[in-house]
Symmetry: D2
Subunit: 150 residues, 4 copies
């Protein structure tokens, strides 16, 4: 039962902005990519379609603290931690660190958080939060706070 997952990723030219650094909105795309890798590693779908509806994990809250800029061609580790498993949702913490000479550096460049809720859509298309199915919950373990505390 993993409580952590990590992804290595290189900052792309299209992700930079005219200040010469990775645009702040892209950190959220990276967090989600890390979450997607985590679900793949568990053999769980992040989204699925049923007749007339969707089953998935929309976000109800996302935040990020930016401590140092990421630059083009930087190689970055994004690390996911399960902070909390609620009846109908999961809270993830994320940390961004730079690889230098093939080693992850200790400095946390950014620290994020996302709250995702398990939903199905009803007949009108509206999303309705649902208890996380037992077989999904069984695969989610909460990380110790010491693992991701800033």
């Amino acid at each position: 039962m993993p409580s952590e997952f990590s992804l290595t990723r290189t900052v792309e030219f299209s992700e930079t902005d005219m200040a010469g650094i990775m645009h702040f909105s892209n950190f959220f795309r990276w967090m989600e990519a890390c979450e997607a890798g985590f679900y793949r590693s568990l053999g769980l779908p992040q989204i699925s379609f049923v007749p007339g509806g969707v089953v998935g994990w929309p976000r109800i809250r996302a935040s990020c603290d930016y401590k140092a800029p990421l630059r083009f061609n930087d190689v970055i580790e994004v690390k996911l931690f399960i902070k909390e498993v609620r009846t109908k949702g999961v809270v993830f913490a994320f940390q961004f660190r730079r690889f230098t000479d093939g080693k992850v550096q200790p400095l946390v460049l950014a620290q994020g958080e996302m709250v995702a809720v398990f939903v199905t859509t009803d007949a009108s298309g509206a999303m309705v939060a649902q208890p996380i199915p037992a077989e999904v919950r069984a695969k989610l373990e909460v990380a110790p706070e010491s693992a991701y505390a800033p």
Copy 2:
């Protein structure tokens, strides 16, 4: 029966890259936004969902010639021209021009083209090109080539 449509738009910070100009991929998002405005102006849906499927206009080709850079806070006119109406698709040409002192300047900063095909999805979810419905076709008029020729 319009053969042209235009949209005014300001270059956003998130659309720039570290070279200090609008990233080349965003011109395609702008062309599509202009196309969406065109469909709205005609009262036609750009995409619709039917039980088990989608009706829409995926692109089979897109291209853009970049002649001069767009910069943050530039106010730009994107102009759409219907270049060709085919049995199952439409070819659009697009031109990007800068507003200066509230007037569109003659210089074409970029010239694009998109070929969109009218499709429905079959039982397997695959997209199948369809003849453009008569009521849609009736609203599409081809622009004279002189209108958009570089």
Copy 3:
């Protein structure tokens, strides 16, 4: 001295995701676009370049609470409020509301926050927070909390 600013914007096809709603990362791009409009309205640059360096407002924190989805072609008001003016930074609150029949609806679809810090770059290219210049500060007024409290 304004403490609020608003922007009207239509959800684009490229901003949706396969769940059929605006992708959560795009709310941050919209907040920044609203902030850019605010600076333009004040005649203040959001970023400027000096020999060897940049003067600007990078974000040190951004967050968003998502309460209801935005969909393709929705017309949305993004409203900015100055929540706090610090010595070296500004805290903005943002609210997203839908236009229906040309009127902004009361329901807040999303509520965001951004903390931007005034910086210049030093000789090494590193960003260094600076006191907000007096002529900029003179144009910033804090909104009453009642204006944006959820």
Copy 4:
């Protein structure tokens, strides 16, 4: 002297649109990411900054033919081919293919092309095309047309 380069990449949730497929604009971001990997593999900078200016490879033309959709979590090979080396620019061809069971499938899902020009900026900030430096040119070899012909 390589004439080809390839990159493996997974379609992300944020890259899909409400039609359930990768948005057509993202193929251009992927082509550029592949080009960036190619330059890194050669030890050449894709962009560099000199006092008062930029040295880089802006695009003057980009195009893509879309033959089959890419979907969330698809694992894709993007392959770059040098199609032509001009005095002041390079023409790249790109092919997108799906990995299935760890093997690249023969079907080309999309075929793209980009023309990048070597530029420096002049005193006014305008980009001026320059002959490709000999040490860069020495690292670029043209691929046989048979390698990428559709």
